[in-house]
Amino acid sequence: MAEVEVTLKVNGKTVEAKVEPRLLLVISYGSI
């Protein structure tokens, strides 16, 4: 599956990541 670039600000820190579209946000899963 193609990856999508996402940019989030998590707890004030900007994070860029490539994720598969089906990945869920739950951060402890290691999606981001």
């Binding site: 996402v6 989030l8 600000k9 998590v10 707890n11 994070v15 869920l24 946000l25 951060i27 402890s28």
Partner: protein, 134 residues
């Protein structure tokens, strides 16, 4: 990111253990796609304390009033409660119970969680907490 405070509970949006704040709204992150959060601001339990490590009023109140036992629901409960108090800084017990109704706790019976949120609300308003009359 190594942020392990947000817990996986039911993975089906029922329990609230995975609650985070997404652009000013409480969401259950187990059913939010990462791409849906693109460009958003996310607050997790790790972002609650001050940069110097001082606990947030809710974290302090949970500790002081014994509002947790196993602690699994606590990160989601605190992040949810912080949003609740931003929306209503002086909630009644009933409003708190309604406000956290999407977050399940299997240990405490909720009473001390509600008490902790009342304590934190008072602390954030800078007024002493007073128990409601029976």
């Amino acid at each position: 990111m190594s942020l392990t405070g947000t817990h996986i509970g039911c993975d089906t949006t029922h329990c609230g253990a995975c609650t985070v704040d997404l652009d000013g709204k409480s969401v259950k992150s187990c059913t939010v796609f990462a791409v849906q959060a693109n460009g958003a601001e996310v607050l997790t339990i790790e972002g609650m304390a001050a940069p110097d490590g001082a606990l947030h009023a809710l974290q302090h109140a949970f500790r002081e009033t014994h509002a947790l036992q196993c602690g699994f629901c606590t990160p989601g409960m605190i992040v949810r409660a912080s949003r609740l108090l931003k929306e209503n800084n002086n909630p009644t017990e009933e409003e708190i119970r309604f406000g956290i109704s999407g977050n399940l706790c299997r240990c405490t019976g909720y009473q001390n969680i509600v008490t902790a949120i009342l304590h934190a609300a008072a602390a954030l308003r800078d007024t002493p907490y007073q128990e409601a009359a029976e």
